[in-house]
Amino acid sequence: MYYIDPHIHMVSRVTDDYETLARMGCVAVSEPAFWAGFDRGSVDGFRDYFRQLIEFESKRAGWYRVQHYTWLCINAKEAENVKLSREVIAMIPEFLDRPGVLGIGEIGLNKNTKNEATIFLEHLDLAAKTDEQILIHTPHLEDKYQGTRMILDMLGDDSRIDRSRVLVDHVEEHTIRPVLDEGYWAGMTLYPVSKCTPQRAVDMVEMYGPERLLVNSAGDWGPSKPTAVPDFILAMRLRGHPESLIRRVVYENPLKFFSQSRNFDFTPPETYETVS
């Protein structure tokens, strides 16, 4: 089955991972900007990172016929440095018309601090002014519930934000309902240890239905499994769900969400023969 991984940090993965993804049916990935494992020292560090995402990752993905898309921002962890964050936010528009840039992300909260919230609001303002889609990171573990509710409060307070163009990622059992009820897209992240398992993600599909629901691996430089979406596909099959429902969650839904970005130029795999 063809699928799309809507949240995966390929910059942290080796080229062999692209080959594995392609073999398992992955035809496209979207890569939000995130924390590199250390705090970057200057706005130029981010400029180079954005160029790497837009120029080189798309090339590397293309070697395996995987279509690569990107989201740009300064992540919540580095948002503690408000001065640097503002420089990055001011620089982002340089890249918003580049091919494959889908919007602003992954913005959000990490420890739910005042500085993080300040920079989150300034990213929202940028997205509203530039009419960009938004991809949101919600905190982990004990901070997730509080942080997700804070994020929903800030989004809800900005009347310029079109909820159908916002994806709130890393939802779990205690945060998925408010995200979907308020009209946003929700992403379930399948991490092998600390986060949602494929089985629990299937439970949430059963409980909430497939509307505005996505599944991703968030594969990054930490312990993570870039092939988590195929694990979800298998878990859905073993649970007895029809192929049409699985395809909707792992392929049609991401296409529908991404298609709202003006730089989303997708070649369906069925037409590959004619474009090669």
């Binding site: 408000v82 739910n112 005042k114 500085n115 919230a117 300040t118 609001l121 573990l141 004990e142 901070d143 997730k144 519930y145 509080q146 509710r149 804070m150 409060d153 800030m154 307070d157 779990e172 059992e173 205690h174 629990r200 439970d203 599909v205 059963e206 409980m207 239905g209 497939p210 649970r239 007895g240 769900h241």
Partner: protein
Amino acid sequence: MPIPLDAPEVLDREFLEIRARLLQVAASLDRIERAEGAVDDDPRLMKIRQALEILAGGDEQRAEKIQLLFSRPYEANWLATFRPTR
């Protein structure tokens, strides 16, 4: 949305896994007790005890309840007291 499997099928498939996970929790709690020192007042242990009560309860939405148990509280008026960083 209907679940394709019925309850006996789910139990058949998952019984051994549930059994194994319960054993893992039991052995972890035993290990804490066998080790030197005391953690009786550790709030994390209290949370674990409360979580076990949720598991033993008859309601649905156990996963959501356990998630909330291990979450920092949310205060609805946080935005009112919030001053953005200048």
